[in-house]
């Protein structure tokens, strides 16, 4: 069950089925945008999308009608404002109704940790005095059997598929993450199947530090070479966050028509190769 190298098209077609629970992670850094576009292109439907910060990537999937449910903890465009497609789905059921399951970051992080650790639930000091437990039946409380302290519990996250972006794979399919590593490793370990898009495939990892954040090839399903595949998010050591595009997204997504136009132009008539372009532009600018 060692990782297979695949095209992005084949990886999504093989690993993601309609109705699946999908966690696409990356905490600001290394967000798998190219994979998100491919899911939209393949018109996957009825997905339950899990992600701490739904962000532009899920704004796109939700606006494109791929999702029936969202599990999340903070649904904004960081430093910019609202996720308009997410709000339109929640407030107006456009393009379809969206069920939500809302948590705090601490709950989601613990739930990924529990998923990776093979536990049915995460136990943590959370939600004390907060109102989410009233509206989310997946938040319960238990007592510490030693102290009697009341602790929050949430179900472990065990997605059908995890999709993440990393800097490097070696030729065996082992994966290396560097920088802000978020919950990606946990998401992959918690999932039944996983797709890892990477910036680069290298011969070996001989120069990697002992305690680097890595995944062995036997813990991964598909490895896909997609240079620039995190754009407009970033890949530490490769390219920077395209903050200007995050700001521009506000206008693109505000309006259904402009969103659909953008989708037609950049997703339905696009492909993973397009992700190399902004990367090259950034490089040539840096060199200029």
């Amino acid at each position: 069950m060692v990782a297979q190298f695949m095209s992005l098209k084949d990886a999504i077609a093989t690993c993601v089925q309609d109705g699946d629970t999908v966690a696409m992670e990356g905490f600001t850094h290394l967000i798998p945008h190219a994979a998100g576009h491919e899911i939209i292109r393949q018109k996957k439907r009825d997905l339950t999308l899990i992600r701490m910060t739904p962000d532009m990537i899920y704004d796109q999937l939700i606006g494109a009608g791929c999702a029936k449910k969202l599990v999340f903890s903070w649904g904004g465009n960081p430093g910019v404002g609202s996720l308009h497609r997410l709000r339109d789905a929640i407030e107006n059921s456009w393009p379809r109704a969206l069920e939500i399951e809302e948590h705090s970051h601490a709950a989601m992080a613990n739930a990924y940790d529990a998923g990776a650790a093979g536990l049915p639930c995460a136990v943590f000091k959370g939600y004390r005095g907060a109102e989410l437990p009233r509206v989310n039946p997946n938040i319960k409380f238990i007592e510490c059997p030693f102290t009697g302290e009341r602790l929050a519990a949430v179900p472990a996250i065990r997605p059908d598929v995890a999709v993440v972006h990393a800097q490097k794979a070696n030729r065996k399919g082992d994966i290396l993450f560097e920088g802000i590593v978020g919950v990606q490793k946990e998401a992959v370990l918690a999932a039944r199947k996983s797709i890892i898009t990477v910036e680069e495939i290298v011969d070996d990892f001989n120069d990697v530090p002992f305690n680097a954040v890595m995944l062995p090839n036997w813990a991964v399903t598909a490895v896909v070479h997609v240079p620039g595949g995190a754009h407009p998010s970033y890949a530490q050591g490769y390219y920077k966050r395209d903050n200007a595009f995050y700001k521009a997204w506000d206008n693109i997504a505000k309006d259904r028509d402009s969103f659909n136009n953008w989708l037609d132009q950049h997703v339905f008539n696009g492909g993973p190769k397009d992700f190399e372009a902004p990367l090259k532009a950034q490089h040539s600018k840096a060199e200029a």
Binding site: P78, E91, Y127, E131
Partner: protein
């Protein structure tokens, strides 16, 4: 004296509340500006932690998100987000957390989830993110928020994060042993909790602001301390550092 606007006054006042040995959980926006201003002025050794996992970060420009590359590049160490929330926040290692809100009540309970009914919202806000556990796990909380009748309300629509609950000892009844929102810094004044009942009391008014200005911008009945101080104005140095920081930030974010 240099001219300054009310946002600058608020930011500088928030920055001054931080000490050199604080370990501070920083949110995006004003908290980030205030924390970095503190670091660049009177608190050079302050530890700034962003929930993306960066510990001891010293960014040259303010990040747009809580996970810009600059945060990691300048950090002492970057840990997984799971570890950040488990060992560092829940583990009680953070002395100060900064929070803002869409709605706030007089006990420092905050709403960043919905305006209106949860299941049928008038406005769907981003949600809690780190706030529910930041509010209870940090040593103390500084709230920073521009005052308005819409934001400073008698009853918030949704309790995203606990302040003093219903006041008095209510916070402790949830098993929470941290101090809670010890300071509320606005564009008009500073408020601090009543020692017993825990509702906010105005303890310092920014120069040029009247009591009526504060009352007009607050949805609850405002209470003033017996002795109300005048908030010291920003120094020329603080303003210069803050403006340089914003100028660098704007240049960096637009230039991409």
């Amino acid at each position: 004296m240099t001219d300054y606007n009310s946002t600058e006054m608020m930011t500088v006042t928030a920055a001054r509340a931080l000490k050199n040995d604080d370990v501070c959980f920083v949110g995006i926006g004003m908290p980030s500006a205030a924390c970095n201003l503190a670091r660049l002025t009177h608190a050079p050794d302050i530890t700034l932690i962003y929930e993306s996992g960066t510990i001891g970060t010293k960014p040259d420009v303010l990040p747009l998100s809580i996970g810009d590359g600059e945060l990691c590049e300048t950090a002492m160490n970057t840990v997984p987000v799971t570890e950040m929330f488990r060992y560092w926040l829940q583990g009680g290692k953070i002395s100060v957390g900064f929070l803002g809100a869409a709605q706030l009540d007089k006990f420092g309970n905050i709403n960043t989830t919905v305006i209106g009914d949860y299941d049928n919202p008038k406005v769907r806000l981003p949600g809690g993110g780190g706030a529910p556990e930041i509010a209870t796990s940090c040593g103390e909380i500084f709230l920073v928020m521009k005052q308005s009748k819409r934001g400073f309300v008698e009853k918030i629509d949704f309790v995203t994060s606990l302040g003093y609950g219903k006041g008095g000892d209510d916070r402790a009844s949830y098993g929470v042993t941290t101090k809670g929102p010890s300071r509320l810094i606005t564009d008009l004044c500073i408020m601090e909790p009543h020692p017993a009942d825990r509702h906010f009391i105005v303890t310092s008014i920014h120069p040029g602001v009247s009591r009526d200005d504060i009352i007009a911008a607050t949805g609850w009945q405002v209470e003033f301390a017996d002795k109300v101080a005048e908030t010291p104005v920003p120094s020329a140095h603080e303003l210069q550092v803050l403006r340089d920081l914003h100028a660098r930030t704007n240049a960096a974010h637009e230039g991409q």
